[in-house]
Subunit: 311 residues, 2 copies
């Protein structure tokens, strides 16, 4: 028997997960937290934001599958069992969703839809200058599966796309920079910055007063990764000064964003409630079931997390 | 000497046109309306919305170059000299701009950014269901150079793209329908309709009470072509009934849109002031200069308009 425990606040998806996994694992024993049954029987956990300490309670746990693309929601558990492998969710459907979000947000600023929205409210029929797409530099920060897909789709529209990552990458058609030295050069040419980084010890607060200042005057920031990557008070200050002309944010330091937070009403901020990529059991089940099969067959796992790197 | 007359309300672009044409035509005599000089000398006109009757005043006119992609602004002149060839402007830079607009408008509705905008005003952090991109059917109405580029770029994002045109077309990756019979089938599967048609006698008012009703319940309309293609009172009625869930309009029957027009304030309408594609002399000069060269060399013209078809 494969004893699989689902741990998620989205309990309405439990029946879908049960059905989809059962169609792929013939000897499945599927359980839903908090009805985990005998703790010693749980072998595999599928988890999104599990309560701290929960995963340490399963002595025979062999695999933790993240139900989100990031794993910061797992690694921030101080009692996480360090010997159990964790796999990220890499779902091409979610990556496509993230790229849709990035294209929309980049076009929002590139084509001045933020200003035209205001013009409509003012019943103002007025054309604004339109820079060439080829002269608009878009910086994609984080060149993992999501960043690379975004970069390709932005480049296909004609934008001048740059990528930045921790380690060197070669991506056809994209100018890639890396590491601390590359970061300042990268930021200085990002007219529109799209953040696709994982949240780790190394990336927390990577967009702060100093790095925001390194962006061009009048540039734009799109964050569809994690709120903790951006120091919000620094972002608000650069928006207020006009150094940053606009921000399009799907994630915030605290989620849901508190009702009295200034980001809700800032005139140059567009906010969405962490919907850039939504885990869909229909498509996410494939990479998850494949990793469960690999675990049981003793084959190497896909998308294994390096806990030291945090992704 | 090549005597070229520029006729446009955008007189601030005259110096650019002069410089760009001079670099390509060594014996250019460049004039700007209303300073057209001796009428019998004018051979070539570059025109955007010329005053009715003006073009008939040049007895030796040999070529009319449209400064917009459409030519309805020329053909609606009852005194237009019928024997003079007219060429459309087909500028890849403008086509790319149009596709950017189409992608933004389609993603706006597909990803519910219209609703999330309202949620932000209400300080509401709430996720909405997200349909698969592959199950979202986008109908591109008009498969000329612009429609085809839009269709390809939408298909590259994973949308189920359909095309419709007057005559049969074959476009790889796109299901193409045509003619009056194809129209009803096409409309019935357009969850999001993107209008890329020229405005002609055959297409004026093509989106009306009857054809809007043929669209699926809760569908969306994007018009970035010409206002005259859509009967605005019928569109407003279908928006009010909820049959059409939203409209994204770059063009209106009357431009600029009168300040008291209900489209300005309809909650499900996004309006922009005819900016989807802007003629840029820097890039538009290439196809125009090439047609002038062809005219003078006695070679066949590119993008010649058939006045009977109206495009």
């Amino acid at each position: 028997m494969a004893v699989v425990l689902l741990v998620t606040p989205r309990t309405n998806e439990a029946a879908d997960w049960a059905r989809l996994l059962r169609a792929r694992i013939h000897d499945l024993d599927f359980r839903v937290h908090p009805d985990s049954g005998e703790a010693g029987e749980v072998e595999i956990v599928l988890a999104w934001k599990p309560p701290h300490g929960l995963l340490a309670r399963f002595p025979r746990l062999r695999l933790i599958c993240s139900l989100g693309m990031g794993v910061d929601h797992l690694l921030d558990d101080p009692d996480l069992p360090r010997s159990v492998p964790i796999v990220r969710l890499v779902d091409s459907n979610m990556i496509e969703q993230m790229s849709e979000y990035a294209l929309y947000a980049v076009l929002h600023f590139h084509r001045r839809f933020d200003v035209y929205e205001r013009f409509q409210r003012e019943r103002r029929w007025q054309e604004l200058p339109l820079p060439h797409t080829r002269s608009r530099r878009v910086g994609v920060m984080g060149m993992g599966a999501t960043g690379e897909d975004c970069a390709h789709k932005l480049a296909a529209l004609g934008f001048a796309v740059f990528g930045w990552s921790r380690t060197p990458k070669r991506v056809p058609g994209i100018t890639c920079l890396h590491g601390a030295d590359g970061l300042t050069v990268f930021l200085a040419q990002s007219d529109i910055l799209v953040i696709c980084l994982p949240l780790t010890r190394a990336t927390a607060g990577i967009l702060n007063e100093r790095t925001l200042r390194a962006l061009p005057q009048g540039s734009y920031v799109v964050n569809m990764a994690r709120g903790g990557l951006v120091i919000e008070k620094d972002l608000l200050a650069s928006l207020d000064s006009g150094h940053i002309a606009g921000a399009f944010l799907d994630v915030t330091e605290e989620e849901p964003l508190p009702a009295d937070h200034p980001l809700w009403t800032h005139p140059n901020v567009r906010l969405t409630p962490h919907i850039a990529g939504l885990t869909n059991p229909q498509t996410a089940v494939e990479p998850i079931a494949e990793n469960i099969r690999r675990l049981r067959a003793g084959e190497p796992l896909h998308d294994l997390v390096d806990p030291a790197l945090g992704y």
